[in-house]
Symmetry: C2
Subunit: 425 residues, 2 copies
C-alpha cells in the first residue's frame, strides 16, 4: 500500500534534531525514492540535478516538491503547458524563496495540469495507476503518497489541493486566503488562487505550515466535548457515491463516539448562492490573467483551456461584479454560521479517484470553500471497497487554521481505524 511508504516530516525533523539523520541523508533518501519510483508515478516534471542542501533553518534537509505552477530560478517551469516548455523564470516565486530561507531543499517541480486547470498531467495515482491522482496539484499529492518526499506545495483555485490529496490518501491543507504568498505563481484567477500544502498526515502538514511561515500552527490537544462538529448538508450531497455516503456517516459516528459535539448544519441560502458565483469569478479572471496566453500561444493550448479563457472574456464586468457581491454575502453568512459550529465535515470529492487519466475528477465540494477563503484540510483514512482512499474534508472559520488542523489531527486516526475496531459499526 502506498501509505506505508510515506515519509513523515515529524519523524524526519526529529531524526535530524537528535543527530540521527543529517540534512544530506534526508535529501538523499528522497532522491533515491524518486529515482526508484517516479518512472512509474510521473509525479515530477523536473528533478533538480544537484540541489542545494542547507544545514540551517527549521526545514534543513527537508526536500520539498514544488508544483510546477510556481517560478523557480534554477529549475525550468512550464506550468503544465507546452507553450512554456523549457521556460526558465528569472526569479523564484515568493513561496519557493520562503522555503529556501527556512532551509528547505527544492528537490524538484511536481507535475500540474495545464495552467492548474483541468487538462491532465501524466501523473498516475500511486494507489492504482489506472486511476487519476486528481488535479491540478497532481504531482504534489502523488509524490507524497508514493513516499518520494515528505512535503509538497500546491495551489487550489477550485479544488486543486483538497481533491488530489483525497484521491491520493494524503493530508492536504488549503489555508485561509493569503496565509501563504501567491506571488510568482502562474495565476489563473487571482482572487481564488490559494497556495496549499501536502504531507503524509495532518500533523505533518501542520508542522510544515508552521516551520515554513513561523506561525504557531502545530497541532495541539483538543477537548472533543468543546468542539462543535457539523456535518454540512448541501444539495451536492445527493450526488456522492454510496461509499462516500458511508464514509461520511462513519466519520460523524466516529467523531461522536470520540466525544465531539456532532450535529448537522444545513447550507445557508447565501452560501448556496455564493456557490454559483465561483465559476463566474474564476472564468472572468482567467479571461484576463490567461488572456496573454490565448493571444500569443493559442495553438499550444488545449481546447478545454481555450474554451474557459474565451468564456471568461465573454463574461461581462457587470456579471463579475454581481458574482463578487454574492461571494461577499456568502462570506458574511459563513461568519454567522461559524458562530454555531466550529468545524464542518464534508466529502473532499464525490467518491474515490475515478478510473482513467483523462479527467482529474470533480471539484464540486471544494469550490465554495476556495471562494470563501476559509481553511480546509483533507483528512485521509477511509477506503473504498477496491482500496482507494476516500477523503473527508474539514473546514473552519477564516483565520482558525490552528484549531482546524488540531481537530483534523484528532479525527485522522479515528477515520483510519479499521471498521471492526469501531463499536458503532
Amino acid at each position: 500500500m502506498a501509505e506505508n511508504r510515506m515519509m513523515s516530516l515529524g519523524a524526519l525533523v526529529a531524526a535530524r534534531e537528535s543527530g540521527k539523520a543529517s540534512p544530506e541523508l534526508m535529501v538523499a533518501l528522497c532522491r533515491d525514492a524518486i529515482a526508484r519510483n517516479d518512472s512509474k508515478i510521473m509525479a515530477f516534471s523536473h528533478v533538480a540535478a544537484d540541489p542545494v542542501i542547507g544545514n540551517e533553518g527549521p526545514l534543513a534537509g527537508v526536500a520539498v516538491g514544488v508544483k510546477d505552477i510556481f517560478d523557480s530560478f534554477d529549475q525550468p517551469t512550464s506550468y503544465g503547458s507546452s507553450a512554456y516548455a523549457g521556460h526558465q523564470p528569472f526569479a523564484d516565486a515568493a513561496i519557493v524563496d520562503l522555503a529556501r530561507r527556512q532551509g528547505a531543499t527544492i528537490i524538484g517541480k511536481t507535475a500540474t495540469t495545464e495552467f492548474a486547470f483541468f487538462h491532465p498531467a501524466e501523473t498516475v495515482n500511486p494507489h492504482n495507476p489506472a486511476h487519476t491522482p486528481g488535479g491540478s496539484s497532481s504531482g504534489s499529492a502523488a509524490a507524497i503518497a508514493a513516499g518520494m518526499v515528505p512535503v509538497a506545495i500546491g495551489t487550489q483555485t477550485g479544488g486543486s489541493v483538497i481533491r488530489p490529496a483525497a484521491f491520493c490518501g494524503v493530508a492536504g491543507y488549503k489555508p485561509s486566503f493569503r496565509l501563504l504568498p501567491a506571488t510568482g505563481m502562474k495565476h489563473f484567477a487571482p482572487s481564488l488562487d490559494t497556495v496549499g500544502l501536502f504531507a503524509a498526515s495532518v500533523s505533518d502538514v501542520a508542522l510544515f505550515a508552521g516551520l515554513l511561515t513561523g506561525r504557531d500552527l502545530s497541532v495541539e490537544p483538543v477537548d472533543p466535548g468543546q468542539v462543535r462538529v457539523g456535518l454540512y448538508r448541501c444539495a451536492e450531497l445527493g450526488s456522492v457515491d454510496a461509499e462516500m455516503q458511508d464514509a461520511l456517516s462513519a466519520a460523524a459516528d466516529r467523531a461522536a463516539d470520540a466525544g465531539f459535539d456532532v450535529g448537522e448544519i444545513d447550507e445557508p441560502p447565501a452560501l448556496a448562492e455564493a456557490r454559483q458565483a465561483h465559476s463566474i469569478i474564476q472564468d472572468h479572471e482567467a479571461g484576463l490573467a490567461c488572456g496573454p496566453d490565448l493571444s500569443r500561444f493559442r495553438d499550444l493550448l488545449s481546447q478545454q483551456l481555450i474554451e474557459v479563457i474565451e468564456r471568461g472574456q465573454s463574461i461581462s464586468p457587470q456579471a463579475y461584479d454581481e458574482a463578487r457581491r454574492r461571494a461577499k454575502r456568502g462570506r458574511a453568512a459563513a461568519r454567522l454560521m461559524f458562530g454555531e459550529v466550529d468545524i464542518l465535515l464534508s466529502p473532499s470529492a464525490p467518491g474515490a479517484a475515478p478510473h482513467g487519466l483523462e479527467s482529474t475528477g470533480d471539484p464540486r465540494f471544494n469550490k465554495l470553500w476556495t471562494l470563501m477563503g476559509t481553511p480546509a484540510v483533507n483528512i485521509p483514512g477511509f477506503k473504498s471497497g477496491s482500496g482507494l482512499p476516500l477523503g473527508i474534508q474539514a473546514i473552519a472559520r477564516f483565520g482558525r487554521d490552528r484549531q482546524l488542523l488540531s481537530v483534523a489531527a484528532a479525527l485522522e486516526p479515528l477515520f483510519a481505524a479499521p471498521p471492526n475496531s469501531q463499536a458503532s459499526e
Copy 2:
C-alpha cells in the same frame, strides 16, 4: 505650460471616428512628441522601435505608455531595478494584453521607481525639471503632462497613482480594487497593489477606463444638489502646506457655489486605526513578494529597498493578521461613512511637488484609500504660487467608480478656473 500641450483621448478618438485621424497618424503624433521631449523629461525607460498599430477596437491608434512594472513580451521590463536590467519577460501582463486586445498600441514602457517603491527614476516634473514628478508611476504621469501620450497605465500600493498625477497636474484614477487586473505586474504587496490609469483630464481617464474594460464608466451629467460632498477631516490635514490648505478651502467653496451639498466629515476612529495598518501589511507582504530579490540580488538593490524587505521579513504573522483585521474594520467603517456622504475631498499630497529628485514625495493622503480599496481620482486644476500643480483627490465608496468619475469631471473645471473668476474669492 505643460498642460497646454497635453493630448486629449476624447479628442483623438473623436478625430479617428470622424475619419480626420488614422490610427497611424495618432501613433505618429506620439512618437514625434516622445522624440522631441523625452530626452528632457525622461518619462520612458523604453520606446518601442516599431510598435504594432491596429485598425480595430475601441483603442485603435491610442498610444499607451505602460509603467515598467508590467511585463511585456516584446519590450524589456526592468521594474526600475538594475537587478532586472534588460530583462525580457516571456509573456504580457494581463493589463497589457487587454489594452492590445482593445486595439491600443503599446508605445513604450514608462519609468518607475525601483520595484514601484521609493528609490526614484530619472524622470523630471514637466512643470519644472528641478522638481520630482512623484512616484512610483513617475513616467506615466510625466508622459501625460508633457503631452507625449494621451493615456498611461500605472500602479498604486501606497500613493503611486494619485500623487504623481497631482504633482504633474494630470488626472489619475485608482479604481476600486480588482477593477483592473494586476496579473503580470511585479508585485510589491499583492493585497494593496492596484492598477490605475492616467490621462489629461478626468473625462479622458474615464473614457480610457471604459474603453479598456468594457465597463460603462464614461462621465455622465450630475445634479450637484443630489451629491453630498464631504471635506475629509483627518489628523494628517495638520501637516499640509498653506497653499494646499487654500486649495482645499477653495475646492469646497467652489463646489458649494456650484450647488453641491458640501459639508465636513470627521475621520471615523476605525479609519484612523486602519491607516496605521497600511505599512505593516505592505511591508510584511513585500518581505515575502520581494524576498526572492533580496535573496539573490541584494547587491543590486537600493539600501531603502533592502531595508523595507528586511523590515517586512521581521514583522510577525500575528502582527500582520492583526493589521488585516484593523483594515477589515476600517472597510466596514468606510461603508457606514459612505451612507452619509457620496464623495470625499482630500489633498492628493501635502503640497505641490517637492524640490529635488531624491524623494518622490509623501503618500500620507493616499495609503488609507489604497488599503480600503475605494476608488480615488486626482483632480488637477489648482496651482501653487510658483505655478506647480496642486492636486485634490476625490474618493467614493467601493464600486461607485462611475459616480466618482462623473462628479470629479464636474468639479475639474471649477478647480481649474482662475481665482478671480470665482465670486467666492
